[in-house]
């Protein structure tokens, strides 16, 4: 049967996770409790973390750190994180958002995990604590690449550089059901400009690969260009590079590929979906 342990500190939880393969962190419960309720998770230990650091947001400075236990509702309530409100609002309905955490979203399987897509476009790093030591920052892309292997340790926080201009951060989730539906796909883009030209833009997709992915081709197509019709056209041309979308209950891989450039183009051009 399942046991539950409460951990007053993050390092205590990290220590247990490192030593017990059957130990699993439960934060908001939106992923783990479903596994329990449906009988897929019947053995092991669930770890609850009561450490206040787990639910801390530090968003006022140039480097933003959000505790892994911070919920979507807490993001929405934080004015310093206004650029993340669209992806946070894209997660579930209001009741899910009071429960679902930033850390949990990093583990959500496709087509879920839209908040992670936003973090990817922000160039976020994941703070992972293995054992009782201190945490180390892992690039989110690397973290996602290793996610299925597991055993990376305890995710305690995410960090990223605050966007200079929040209006240069774009997010769009395409779902069949309004206002709450899971993704056909999602797109996040951080498009810093200097002198009217894009500088090292970062674009990420959800539901276009087994885990959220960077759109390198689009980034290359946009880098150093003004965001004009020609650049958007070039971005659309490069949109599918590296994508490996799944066929699932929501859409086929064919359909996801067909509409990705359309929605990317509309997002970049500031058009409605």
């Amino acid at each position: 049967m399942l046991d539950v342990r409460s951990c007053a500190s993050l390092s205590e939880a990290a220590g247990i996770i490192s030593g017990d393969r059957q130990a699993l962190l439960i934060a908001g419960g939106t992923l783990v409790m479903r596994e329990v309720n449906e009988g897929r998770l019947t053995e092991g230990t669930l770890l609850r973390v009561t450490d206040p650091a787990f639910r801390q947001v530090n968003a006022s400075g140039g480097r933003v750190e959000i505790g892994a236990g911070v919920t979507m509702a807490m993001v929405l309530a934080n004015r310093d994180l206004s650029y993340l409100h669209a992806p946070a609002r894209g997660i579930g309905g209001p009741a899910i958002r009071t429960m679902a955490t930033i850390g949990g979203n990093l583990f959500a399987e496709t087509p879920y995990g839209d908040f992670t897509v936003a973090l990817l476009a922000l160039g976020a790093e994941v703070v992972v604590q293995a054992g009782y030591g201190s945490g180390r920052a892992v690039p989110l892309e690397d973290f996602l690449a290793g996610r299925e292997r597991g055993g990376q340790g305890l995710v305690t926080a995410v960090q990223f550089a605050r966007p200079q201009n929040p209006s240069e951060f774009l997010f769009r989730k395409i779902s069949r059901v309004k206002p709450k539906g899971i993704s056909v796909l999602s797109i996040a883009a951080h498009l810093p400009t200097s002198g009217g030209r894009l500088v090292q833009p970062r674009v990420a997709y959800g539901a276009m690969a087994p885990v959220p992915m960077r759109a390198r081709g689009v980034e290359r197509a946009l880098d150093g260009k003004p965001l004009d019709t020609a650049a958007i056209q070039a971005a659309k041309q490069a949109a599918l590079e590296g994508t490996r979308p799944a066929t699932d209950a929501i859409a086929s891989d064919w359909y996801r590929r067909e509409i990705l450039p359309v929605h990317l183009g509309r997002l970049l051009a500031g058009e409605p979906r």
Partner: protein, 576 residues
């Protein structure tokens, strides 16, 4: 949002009623908004046990061995049930009205015929313990080839899904692999039509998705009975089904229900009642069996898919002169209610239109998917989709406005329908007119003047001469393309009119405020048989031409029957 048009048909109504017709509050509304309404699961029992089932992971597989020993030893487990523990482990839902052969086990024994089929049930102190023990059941499967497409399933050599129906089709009248409708001569009419339009339509399966999943709590009651809190859409239907499967007299079951969290047809099948009652019988304790959402979504039986081919002959002036429909109900692995839907579909053909030549062949095909069942609009929703998209195509083919095309072909009072009964109380024309008006969709003066009360009957009330055929005989797929064998003369009917309820005051088409039916005997023949021991009489009509090539099967001997009524001539063979 809702507007009443009291001017139409006003002379057929007395609107001077007290509470009928008034939008008064629902009796159940206060309970709903205060959350005091009690659904089946909202009952507390001391010592409640929880039942979960082990389901087949294969679409089609032989079950070589089942090992439940580890599950039986697991913490909290009180009892593990297998097929052998079910007293009557073969049933068909409509056996209560003697329609169809028993073909579905409560727990599969030798073979799993769809992914998700229940094989073992575990009863434990808690849901968590039942779920944990479920993982310990070991079943040795030999996967078999599945078939998923209805037309593939009907081909010779297809994997046999359900051995009760070895051709993968429901057997109608002990004679045919489908239900026929024949009215007039469609082939001749197609040959004479200005346009012939034929298309294929596919209705997807649909899940009922009620917010309350299927479930039951059954508990031993005083007086050596069992109380059953049920989500059933038909309380006595479920009681009867359960009594048969657990082999109890019906008065030892006390069913309580009536307040159900949505059904839409998905709670007709008694998916949970028999196992919950059996669990209560074998443990002596209250047993709760509730489908979880994933089970409800994938294994809670959907509206079945239907594939429908529609072929129409239409004249340049817009009159439809012939319609032929070939349709396949995807029953999944077992019959449940699909056999009945095909009959209902047959009665619905050709839709609300007067067409002088109509034929249809409706098949119920078995495939290796979750058995389908009734859903809102059962037997009609899909064919309406096909017919009304087809109507749009026909209107385009003859260059007519779609509204006016409907009005031109709409059935009117007095028209003969394809199942050889006269249409009464029709109102399609008026619905089209009002919808056109409200949508501001202009239609011609002539269409606006049309009425359901006029232009019907007369020639349109005649039953045409009708070629008959013996196509699609059971076990003889090669007979699906045979010629007509005889022609039924114009005006022929063979089925006695049922005695119809008659209402006082209805004769002058102005019903009295309170109508209570009484019965008048049928003008031509006494009411159909009610005695289950009596075999159906021969049809009143004897063909003048030579008898059909296949000899009619012998009259079934009287058998002990579970149900009270022999259900029409549709099913006549002995029940197993």
């Amino acid at each position: 949002m809702l507007e009443m048009r009291k001017d139409l048909f006003a002379d057929e109504r007395d609107d001077n009623l007290n509470v009928v017709g008034k939008g008064v509050q629902r009796q159940d509304a206060p309970g709903h908004v205060t959350a005091r309404t009690r659904f089946f699961d909202d009952h507390a029992f001391d010592g409640l046990l929880h039942l979960k089932v082990v389901r087949s992971p294969h679409h089609h597989a032989r079950i070589r061995a089942i090992d439940v020993s580890a599950a039986e030893r697991a913490p909290g487990v009180k009892r593990v049930l297998r097929g052998a523990d079910v007293p009557v482990n073969k049933n068909t839902l409509l056996s209560l009205i003697n329609f169809g052969k028993d073909d579905e086990p409560t727990l599969a024994v030798d073979k799993a015929r769809y992914k998700g089929e229940p094989i073992v049930a575990i009863i434990a102190d808690s849901e968590a313990e039942a779920l944990a023990a479920r993982k310990l059941v070991r079943i040795d499967y030999e996967p078999l080839n599945p078939v998923f497409d209805v037309e593939e399933a009907l081909k010779p050599g297809a994997p046999v899904v359900n051995e009760t129906y070895p051709g993968n089709y429901f057997e109608y009248h002990q004679r045919f692999d489908h239900q026929k409708l024949r009215f007039g001569d469609v082939e001749r009419a197609f040959a004479q039509a200005d346009h012939v339009v034929e298309h294929r339509y596919q209705m997807s399966p649909i899940e009922h998705a009620p917010t309350e999943t299927n479930g039951t709590i059954a508990a031993p009651e005083h007086n050596d009975r069992y109380v059953v809190h049920s989500c059933a859409q038909g309380l006595f239907f479920s009681l009867g089904t359960t009594a048969k499967i657990v082999d109890l007299e019906s008065n030892r079951l006390h069913f309580i229900g009536g307040t159900v969290g949505g059904g839409f047809g998905g709670k007709v099948d008694s998916l949970s009642e028999p196992l919950a009652v059996l669990g209560a019988m074998l443990t002596g304790r209250p047993v709760r069996y509730v489908l979880d959402r994933e089970e409800e979504m994938l294994y809670g039986s959907p509206r079945g898919a239907e594939r429908i081919y529609v072929k129409d002959g239409v004249m340049r002036d817009g009159r439809i002169v012939a319609r032929y429909i070939r349709s396949y109900f995807d029953a999944g692995a077992y019959t449940r209610l699909s056999s009945y839907a095909a009959i209902k579909c047959t009665a619905h053909v050709p839709g609300p239109y007067s067409i002088p030549n109509v034929a249809s062949d409706i098949y119920v095909a078995y495939t290796n998917r979750c058995p389908s069942t009734a859903m809102r609009g059962f037997g009609v929703t899909a064919v309406d989709f096909a017919l009304e998209v087809q109507m749009d195509r026909l209107a385009e083919a003859v260059n007519m406005d779609p509204m006016e095309f409907r009005i031109l072909n709409a059935y009117r009072d007095g028209d003969m329908k394809a199942h050889r009964r006269v249409a009464k109380n029709t109102a399609l024309v008026e619905c089209v007119q009002v919808a056109a008006e409200k949508a501001n969709w202009p239609i011609s003066e002539q269409a606006r003047r049309a009425s359901s009360l006029t232009e019907g009957g007369g020639e349109r009330a005649q039953i045409p001469a009708t070629p008959l055929d013996q196509r699609g005989q059971i076990g003889r797929p090669e007979s699906r393309n045979g010629p007509a064998t005889q022609t039924l003369p114009a005006g022929t009917t063979r089925i006695a009119l049922s005695k119809q309820p008659v209402f006082e005051g209805a004769r002058d088409s102005r019903p009295t405020p309170v109508q209570v039916p009484r019965y008048e005997p049928s003008p031509r023949q006494e009411a159909p048989r009610y005695d289950p021991a009596v075999a159906p009489p021969l049809p009143a009509y004897q063909p003048a031409a030579s008898p059909p090539p296949a000899a009619p099967p012998p009259t079934a001997p009287a058998q002990p029957q579970h149900g009270a009524v022999r259900f029409s001539s549709v099913f006549g063979t002995r029940r197993r």
